[in-house]
């Protein structure tokens, strides 16, 4: 069985499975073999769920043979960021103090994927506590730095690091990640993948590690925007165990439309690497073939300060026990062992001001973005940082990221896709951010962009 199979989009794999040209058991065994053989090379995997995977794959095969096909994910292997609870296996949150932690239930997302017939093959590596303690460099996980399949000297991005590495290396066809601020778009962008950050509330967070209750979102990383839509349909929906999970129905619909309206913030490439700017300009030329591109100015608000303040306060609240007890001293990244203490000096009044301003931000951005199908911007400011190197981050105020601050602070959906390579031959990316609950519009736009380009068909050469 050729590994090339794992560089086929989920939609194609699903069709092969549906027409019984491909056995879910064979496909799962291929993934398990690659996860075992190549996973350690990229520090991508925490736990391989072999027994569960084979059981799910055999069940899928039996059902499909019996004519009970469940849909595009039936019999398709995947990996989950190790902050999602799974019964019977450890859920480590990427952090040494929790390496033995176990839950006796599955997160809602895991359950929904099981209902869709998908096959859980692995719990994937992540930055400890989803990066919420203020990490500055890739070695902030008890499983080591996640290595980028495009270049073993560089990082995958984070905090859904293993989710990025595993899909880019063809270990699984798709993976689930989480984003509080940047944690899906970063590994997707650095690993040349499509990553979808859904609207806050689109996907239940039940059973997911809480970092910031009002910012955490779960979403897919895959080879194409289309695949992200297929996965989102399976995981979206209301959940009595998560009151923030919306009852708004979601159905992924593929429309072959044109006439898009794209908006660009004038200074959105400030601070980006030269190649990122050049590739973004080229992307705008491509987008002009399928719609209009116009500059749009956002109202003057302290976007980054709003979202950063909320993130910092919620993160220390969520891990109050670990911080108060001094348990953070057991974390891997030296900076994670003391950064949270500084955040205890944020005044309640300032936090409350940020939460009040968040409403202004949400209303203002909705007014602006409602005129467009999507605001577009570079997905990342640079190519993937080198291992052992400190990276810049808007969360620590060492980089600008207005799109990330607005998108996460207001809970808006965004999809990130590959749009070229930079000076070091590594992927650069383009993001489409839409109005709340308009995942299909940003996916339409990203899919249309991918139909004009072939960056998503390029994969790293693995030794």
């Amino acid at each position: 069985m050729s590994a090339d199979l794992l560089f086929k989009p989920v939609r194609e794999l699903g069709e092969l499975v549906r027409t019984r040209q491909l056995s879910p058991v064979t496909l799962t065994e291929l993934c398990l073999d690659r996860l075992e053989r190549l996973g350690p090379k990229y520090n991508a995997v925490v736990t391989i769920t072999r027994a569960r995977a084979l059981s799910q794959a055999r069940r899928a095969e039996g059902e499909i043979t019996a004519g009970r096909y469940r849909g595009a994910l039936h019999g398709i292997p995947y990996g989950a960021k190790d902050l999602l609870a799974t019964a019977g296996t450890p859920t480590t949150w990427g952090a040494a103090p929790y390496r033995e932690q176990r839950f006796d239930f599955d997160a809602t997302v895991i359950g929904k994927l099981e209902d869709a017939g998908a096959v859980l093959c692995a719990k994937l590596a992540m930055i400890e506590l989803a990066g919420g303690m203020g990490y500055r460099q890739p070695t902030a996980s008890f499983t080591g730095p996640c290595i980028n399949p495009w270049d073993t000297g560089v990082w995958t991005g984070g905090s859904s690091s293993g989710s990025g590495a595993a899909v880019a290396a063809g270990l699984v066809p798709f993976a689930i990640g989480s984003e509080t601020w940047g944690s899906i778009l970063s590994p997707a962008g650095y690993c040349g993948l499509a990553g979808l950050r859904p609207t806050y509330g689109r996907v239940s967070r039940h059973g997911a590690m809480a970092l910031c209750w009002t910012l955490d979102k779960l979403g897919p990383l895959a080879l194409t925007a289309d695949d992200c839509g297929l996965v989102l349909e399976a995981i979206a929906g209301a959940d009595s165990a998560d009151p923030t999970a919306s009852e708004r129905p979601y159905r992924y619909e593929v429309t072959d439309r044109g006439g898009f309206r794209f908006g660009v913030i004038p200074d959105v490439t400030d601070g980006c690497e030269e190649a990122v700017v050049a590739n973004f300009r080229r992307s705008l030329d491509e987008l002009a073939k399928i719609g209009t591109v116009e500059e749009v100015t956002l109202p003057d608000l302290p976007y980054e300060q709003i979202t950063r303040t909320i993130l910092q306060v919620e993160a220390v609240g969520a891990f109050e026990d670990l911080i108060e007890s001094g348990g953070i001293a057991e974390l891997t990244a030296p900076e994670d062992r003391f950064t949270p203490y500084a955040r205890e000096a944020i005044l309640a009044q300032d936090y409350l001001k940020a939460v009040r301003l968040r409403g202004v931000m949400a209303r203002e951005i909705d007014r602006v973005i409602s005129r467009f199908d999507a605001l577009v911007a570079p997905g990342r400011i640079n190519e993937a940082p080198r291992l052992g190197q400190e990276f810049r981050s808007a969360i620590r105020a060492t980089a600008k990221d207005v799109m990330g601050a607005v998108g996460n602070g207001a809970g808006l959906p965004a999809v990130c896709v590959s749009n070229g390579v930079g000076a070091r031959g590594l992927p650069t990316s383009l993001q489409f951010m839409g109005r709340a609950w308009e995942e299909n519009r940003v996916l339409d736009a990203a899919r249309a962009y991918q139909s004009l380009t072939d960056w998503h068909t390029r994969h790293p050469k693995l030794d």
Partner: protein
Amino acid sequence: MPETPNPEVVTLFALVANRYGDRLTTEQLDEIKRMVEGQVEAARALRAVRLSNADEPFQHFAAYRSDASTPDRSALASPLENERLGSKGAPSPEGRGIRP
């Protein structure tokens, strides 16, 4: 000429140092001081925006009833209530994944 320290930074840093200083090195405390400076800078940007009396926190609150038919955040049982209800109660916050 050395810069005059911002009194707000001094006060807020002292709060952290008093509370956690015994578990931190001098280098870590220096870094925390720089972080507090950044936080005060961010707070200044937030404070500079004027809001009206009607600008509420953008966060949902709902009054609680245990028999509420529609789930909302307030329907989550408190840890004390879980303890009282034992296994018959709503899932514990840990079980729900709401808290570590």
